[in-house]
Structures are given as structure tokens and as C-alpha cells.
């Protein structure tokens, strides 16, 4: 019996997660006011830049920063944000990248690769590098069918 892993694919934009294409995904709980989450939302036709929102902790579970729609929010970890051609990179300390988001433009369509090593409020590893993409751990919704709307934030 052949085993298959299944995902959804958008004709316009996808993220590469767990070596799968997906139009959008959520790790953790964006509805919580203080828990870890990483939310890569759908990019609709007419747009080409990804929408990343997140609450990221360090290995001890202490808050490092919050991202809202790929923009820096709370930043107690004093992380540095560097815009890149086709994305951005956030450094926890000089020469210590925390998160990199890069969008590859095809002749028609876009694909975003993420590189990150992220921890939750318990200090558990939730996102780690996997080749050219990321591997996620724990509670996650790996395929979003529509733009994600947190119920209470």
C-alpha cells in the first residue's frame, strides 16, 4: 500500500511547510493573549507578500517578540528586523537569525519559504529548519482554507 501525504495548493501563493505546499497555516494558539503562535495567512490574488503574525519565545519560554502582519510589535527581546528583497529577516542577536521569510516569485505565482527555530511559552521547540522549509511540532493547522480569523485577541 502506497502512503501519501496530502495538502492543499493555491494557484497563486503557497508556503512550504513540512516539505508540503500549503496556502496558509497556523501553529499554536493565536486566540490566546500570551501563548506562542505562528500564523502564516493566505495571500490572495493581487497580493504578493506574505502575512506573518507570531508570538515567539526563547528556549526558557520568555517572550522575545510579536509580529503583526509581518510588522514588528512587542519586542522585549530587542530583536532586529532587516527587510530583504522579497521578505525579511529577524535577528535575535547579531549573527543569530531567529526568523527568515523569503518569497520566491514565479512567472505566475509565488512561494514563501520560512527558516526559523522557534520556542513556545514552555520552552518547547515548535518550529525548526527542515531543508529549505520548516518542520512544525505540536498543535497546528497546516492547511487554511480561508483567511484566518482569531476568535478573541
Amino acid at each position: 500500500m502506497i502512503k501519501f501525504t496530502e495538502s492543499k495548493i493555491s494557484a497563486h501563493h503557497n508556503y512550504l511547510v513540512n516539505d508540503l505546499l500549503t496556502p496558509g497555516f497556523v501553529v499554536g494558539d493565536p486566540n490566546s493573549s500570551d501563548a506562542f503562535y505562528f500564523w502564516a495567512d493566505l495571500v490572495l490574488p493581487g497580493e504578493s507578500t506574505p502575512h506573518i503574525s507570531a508570538r515567539i519565545m526563547d528556549e526558557k519560554g520568555d517572550l522575545l517578540l510579536e509580529l503583526n502582519g509581518s510588522q514588528m510589535g512587542e519586542n522585549p527581546g530587542k530583536c532586529d528586523y532587516h527587510p530583504l528583497q522579497g521578505g525579511f529577516k529577524i535577528f535575535r542577536r547579531p549573527n543569530e537569525p531567529l526568523l527568515e521569510v523569503l518569497t520566491q516569485n514565479f512567472p505566475r505565482g509565488h512561494m514563501t519559504r520560512i527558516k526559523a527555530r522557534l520556542f513556545d511559552e514552555k520552552g518547547d521547540l515548535r518550529v525548526e529548519p527542515l531543508g529549505e522549509s520548516i518542520q512544525v511540532h505540536g498543535e497546528a493547522k497546516l492547511v487554511l482554507d480561508a483567511p484566518f480569523t482569531p476568535s478573541a485577541r
Binding site: 494557484a11 497563486h12 496556502p23
Partner: protein, 333 residues
């Protein structure tokens, strides 16, 4: 997520080499979608290779409901034994009713091997595909007996019903950026053993010929008499902003490159205007020009079959008519 009952519909093999020039996979996805809807099922595109994400997205944008994507560094280059073994496994697992591929050099090698391995039939170089409304079987129209007649082939007892189709026979659907599909990644760690070891591959440098997209096509046949006369067609094509095609005897004579070949074993075109010069009108050629909106034929034999499908026929010597035509066009353009 999802169920796999839609995967036994129409499959299309994704030939993405020379992607933006070679549209045959997109044309087959469009036809496959039409056939699948008649059978109340789905169209699935297969992709083997490395870093094939953009092609998967393109196939969904052009109508594929499902993409099966096998990514592995060793699949980057086409290797017939490995490709055959993998695809055969998936066919046996999902039992698709119909499986289509382009009648490209790739499809012509790969699909017969696959059909043999699966123990089913294959209709090569099809010029039409339909679903029989009574039986639901795929009606595969293909030239037979050296192109002298068109045969309608059915595969009642074996599955999948396999066919290769010329580029240009069907039209692709418009690119829809809002489309969403399923994508399946088969689990495999070890590729099937291959007796062939690829040492290196190199892309052949050829002059770009875009016959399928040209609004005007000038076709030369052996009746032109010489390579020098054939070369004059390029000036005619330039004046009319078109491309030059050729019949099999012209290719055999070495007057034109293989990629200009029209017909049963070459390309199919759908120009607004096609001028056929010095061609008799053999079926193996005319199957490739059936989609032309207006056909003008020039041949010295007034009984040549080409006149039966021409909208305007000139019975005369091409070597006399061609200079007059060129001169008239130079004055007008």
C-alpha cells in the same frame, strides 16, 4: 484530509520541460477536465522531478483538481525505468480510468513502456478524444494505416485507457489564480532500480519555433522542388508575421528542422491563416492543420487532396506563384 475516490478519474502526465513553450500538458489538463466532468470525476496531474512547486501551481491554475507530486533529486532528470516503476505503482494503487500524455519525444518513449507494464492499450498521436455517451468509454481518434484513415479506438477491457495527444490539438484553459487544488506527495525513500545510469544531460540549442502560437503559418511541401525554394517561405512568413512549417518529405530531404514538422508525427496548429504550398494533402499532414481558420493551398496538381480542405486553391507552379506573391506583399506591407 480528503478522500481518494476522485483519483480514479482522468490522469495527465506533467511534461514540464520547456514549460512556457510546450503547453501540451496544460492542453491535456483542459481536455481531461472536460472528459472528467462528463464522467463526474476529477482530473489529476502527475509531476515527477525536483523543485516542481511552480508547475504544480500552474497545473492547478489551469484546471487540475489534484496534483500528485514526487520530488527527489534523482528524479530531476528523466529516467524511463524509474519513472515507469513509480507511476505504475500509483496507477495500480488508484486505478485511473483515463491516462493522457503529450505526444512529445518524452511521451512517445515513456507512455508505450508504461502501457506495456500496466498491461493495457495505448492510442498514440490522437487527434481527438471524447467520451462515448452510451458506454462512458474514451473514444480515441488516431491516424491509422500510415495516416490514410482515422481510426476510432476504444479500450473496453483494460485500464487505464491511455492515449498520447499532439501539442496544439486542444486548447488550454485560462490561468486562474484563484484556483485551489489538492496535492498528494507519495512516500518513497528509495527509487526503483534502473539499469540506465545518467552521466550528464545537455540541452540542445535550437532556433525557437513557435508554430502552435503563430497566427499565420506557411507550410512547404516537397512540391516546392528544392531547399532554395523552401527558404523563400521564410521571407513570406516574415512579411505576414508568421512561422514556417513543413511536411515529413521536406524534413526527410533536410530542407527544414524536425521541430517545423506538422501533422501526425509533428505539431498541430490553429492559425488564423495557413498557406500550404507544394503539399499534396496526405492525411498524415492534414491532421495537423485541421484547426486552421482559413487555408490557402497552392499546388500544380488540380486534383491534389489538399484542395478539398482549402478555402482558396491556386492550381499552379509554386515556383512561379511564390515570387508574385512576395512581390505583391512587399508592395502592400
Amino acid at each position: 484530509m480528503g478522500t481518494n475516490n476522485a483519483l480514479n478519474g482522468v490522469w495527465v502526465f506533467g511534461d514540464y520541460r520547456n514549460y512556457f513553450q510546450n503547453r501540451v500538458t496544460l492542453q491535456l489538463i483542459a481536455k481531461g477536465k472536460e472528459l472528467a466532468e462528463k464522467r463526474n470525476t476529477k482530473v489529476t496531474a502527475l509531476l515527477l522531478g525536483e523543485q516542481v512547486q511552480q508547475y504544480a501551481m500552474e497545473y492547478v491554475a489551469h484546471g487540475a483538481d489534484v496534483v500528485i507530486a514526487a520530488e527527489h533529486p534523482d528524479l530531476k532528470e528523466y529516467q524511463v525505468e524509474a519513472y515507469c516503476a513509480l507511476v505504475a505503482q500509483w496507477v495500480e494503487a488508484f486505478q485511473p480510468e483515463v491516462f493522457l500524455a503529450g505526444a512529445t519525444s518524452f511521451g512517445r518513449e515513456f507512455f508505450p513502456r508504461l502501457a506495456k507494464r500496466l498491461g493495457t492499450g495505448l492510442s498514440a498521436d490522437c487527434v481527438a478524444l471524447e467520451v462515448d455517451p452510451k458506454t462512458g468509454l474514451l473514444l480515441q481518434t488516431t491516424p491509422a494505416f500510415g495516416g490514410e484513415l482515422l481510426a476510432e479506438v476504444v479500450t473496453p477491457n483494460h485500464r487505464p485507457q491511455m492515449a498520447t495527444v499532439h501539442p496544439g490539438v486542444f486548447q488550454e484553459r485560462p490561468h486562474n489564480p484563484e484556483a485551489v487544488g489538492r496535492i498528494l506527495y507519495p512516500d518513497f525513500n528509495v527509487l526503483p532500480q534502473s539499469r540506465v545510469r545518467l552521466i550528464r544531460s545537455r540541452r540542445q540549442q535550437i532556433r525557437k519555433v513557435n508554430l502552435e502560437e503563430a497566427p499565420v503559418v506557411i507550410v512547404g511541401g516537397r512540391g516546392l522542388g528544392s531547399k532554395a525554394q523552401f527558404e523563400r517561405l521564410f521571407e513570406l512568413a516574415q512579411l505576414l508575421e508568421g512561422e514556417v512549417g513543413a511536411t515529413r518529405p521536406v524534413i526527410r530531404a533536410g530542407w527544414a528542422e524536425e521541430d517545423r514538422l506538422l501533422g501526425q508525427t509533428g505539431k498541430s496548429v490553429k492559425p488564423k491563416l495557413l498557406i500550404s504550398i507544394g503539399t499534396s494533402g496526405a492525411l498524415q499532414y492534414t491532421t495537423g492543420i485541421q484547426g486552421a481558420e482559413i487555408i490557402i493551398a497552392i499546388n500544380r496538381d488540380p486534383h491534389a487532396p489538399i484542395f478539398r480542405m482549402a478555402d482558396l486553391g491556386l492550381a499552379g507552379d509554386a515556383s512561379a506563384i511564390l515570387p508574385l506573391l512576395l512581390e505583391a506583399l512587399r508592395k502592400r506591407i
